[in-house]
């Protein structure tokens, strides 16, 4: 059975329009029987077959935005953690899965992924912060080397590029890091476990790699 409702959560974060358009494009190009819906309704999220939590902004402000939507955190807990529906976080949407965010002030995250969101610290002082631009993706460990979300996407130093624009990342446990990117040492690019995945980069802004990744998520059956 194909998933037919994918909800993109609207909680006042900036990049909704771009995310929605990229998902709609992926559905069209791959001819999928999927409805993409941008919603701030916890009920719709509770009914969704897949859920996307985008995010642009400061951690504390995004957390406040999410909490301000009536019943949304509960709907997420129920549908993603208890029912195991596939979930994709993007950028700050990914960071919100961590235990705490340390950007500007300390804020609790959803606690789905162990670790805090901390400032990236490239070992080369000449490297700039934020990391802004295109970087390659390294899948971590044997279990991730054929990860279904990278089906058809070339990874490694000679692989395809994803667009990053961030000063912070999740310092996650190794077993929940799916991919890193090299920026003066490994920086968390993707975290996840079971039905949960989150990217630090912006698939909706990563041209070919991004659309391929989104298509893979839409087809994903964890």
């Amino acid at each position: 059975m194909t998933s037919n409702l994918v909800t993109i959560i609207d909680y006042g974060s900036g990049n909704l329009h771009s995310v929605a358009k990229a998902f709609e494009r992926a559905v069209r190009d791959a001819n999928l029987d999927i409805q993409i819906e941008v919603t701030s309704s916890a009920d719709r999220v509770a009914q969704a077959d897949k859920i996307v939590l985008p995010g642009v902004g400061a951690f504390a402000d995004c957390r406040k935005g999410l909490d301000a939507v009536d019943g949304m955190v509960d709907a997420l807990e129920e549908n993603v953690i208890q029912k195991g529906r596939p979930f994709l976080g993007i950028c700050v949407g990914t960071q919100l899965m961590a235990q705490r965010g340390l950007e500007k002030e300390t804020t609790n995250g959803l606690g789905w992924i162990k670790g805090d969101v901390i400032e990236i610290m490239p070992d080369d002082p000449k490297l700039k912060i934020p990391q802004i631009g295109w970087n390659t993706i390294d899948l971590v460990g044997e279990k991730n080397k054929d990860h279904p979300l990278f089906n058809g996407i070339k990874t490694g130093p000679e692989g395809s590029h994803a667009y990053f624009v961030h000063s912070y990342h999740i310092a996650a446990n190794e077993n929940e890091i799916i991919a890193t990117t090299n920026y003066g040492g490994p920086v968390t690019a993707i975290v996840g476990r079971d039905n949960i995945i989150g990217t630090q980069f912006h698939p909706e802004k990563s041209q070919k790699l991004g659309l391929a990744f989104i298509t893979n998520f839409l087809k994903w059956k964890p």
């Binding site: 900036g14 990049n15 909704l16 329009h17 771009s18 358009k21 990229a22 494009r25 642009v56 902004g57 400061a58 402000d61 700050v92 950007e103 500007k104 490297l127 700039k128 912060i129 934020p130 990391q131 802004i132 631009g133 295109w134 970087n135 390659t136 070339k154 130093p157 692989g159 395809s160 590029h161 667009y163 990053f164 624009v165 961030h166 000063s167 090299n182 920026y183 912006h202 909706e204 802004k205 990563s206 041209q207 070919k208 790699l209 991004g210 659309l211």
Partner: protein, 257 residues
């Protein structure tokens, strides 16, 4: 590793590209969305729109331009021009911009940088600085900020201002040399290097590109993380692909996929 970026810049006035874009057979050379699509297809790493609309009646057209661009182009877009308050930043981000550049407003009221960065994160706040050299030949270099297209002097020293706005939360500096802009003699490399060395955030070099070596110099000698150019791309003097190949051949890591 992170790649150096090439950023074509489109000046938009009343919803139209100023001077037009002629490097591909566009049906409408003045349509910013068509130009954006062409640059997306050509492999540009980002796109910058500078809205130079003067009339307040037409101020809102840029939001539609950004929205429509985001429907077709899945690439990063920076928008600047006319940003005066946090609400302007929100509207641009909601329309599909990834980064918002502020210029005069950051000079007049630097706290705006902090307000916007606290709300949206440092990574999406760009401060655009228009600089001119004010020192004489026999004096140590000194550059100051100018506004109103280089006509109005502010007396503010560029390095000091760059440090100030990054401390407030700017995540990137778009640095244009008003001396070099339009001259096709290359970036002001001493200026670029000076600002790049003054701050931890990436600097985008702008103003003066006439050939592909200038792009290489902006990265290698200027220390920029990204190079911005307009006319050499718009008028088809060089393609994005040629520019990337040239930078790659010069030993600069660029995205070729």
């Amino acid at each position: 590793m992170l790649k150096s970026r090439i950023i074509p810049c489109l000046d938009v006035k009343d919803g139209r590209v100023v001077k037009g874009v002629s490097f591909v057979d566009l049906i409408d050379a003045g349509d910013p969305v068509q130009a954006a699509k062409a640059y997306d297809a050509a492999g540009a790493d980002e796109l910058t729109f500078l809205d130079i609309t003067a009339s307040s009646d037409n101020r809102s057209i840029i939001f539609d331009v950004i929205k429509e661009t985001a429907e077709h182009c899945f690439m990063p877009v920076t928008v600047g021009g006319g940003v005066r308050e946090v609400a302007d930043v929100r509207k641009l981000l909601n329309s599909g911009a990834d980064k918002v550049a502020m210029n005069t407003a950051a000079i007049n009221r630097p706290e705006l940088v902090k307000e916007a960065a606290d709300k949206f994160g440092n990574q999406c706040i760009v401060v655009a600085m228009d600089a001119k050299k004010v020192s004489a030949d026999n004096e140590p270099d000194r550059w100051e900020l100018f506004t109103h297209g280089g006509r109005e002097k502010t007396g503010i020293e560029v390095g000091e201002f760059a440090r100030k706005v990054t401390a407030l939360g700017a995540g990137e500096i778009l640095l244009t040399s008003m001396d070099q802009d339009g001259q096709k003699n290359g970036y002001d490399l001493a200026l670029t290097r000076y600002v790049a060395d003054s701050v931890r955030v990436p600097v985008i070099a702008s103003g003066g590109v006439g050939n592909l070596d200038h792009l290489v110099d902006g990265i290698k000698l200027g220390g920029a993380g990204a190079v911005l150019a307009a006319s050499i791309f718009h008028f088809g003097t060089f393609t994005i692909g040629e520019a990337k190949q040239h930078m790659h051949d010069a030993g600069i890591a660029v995205r070729l996929d």
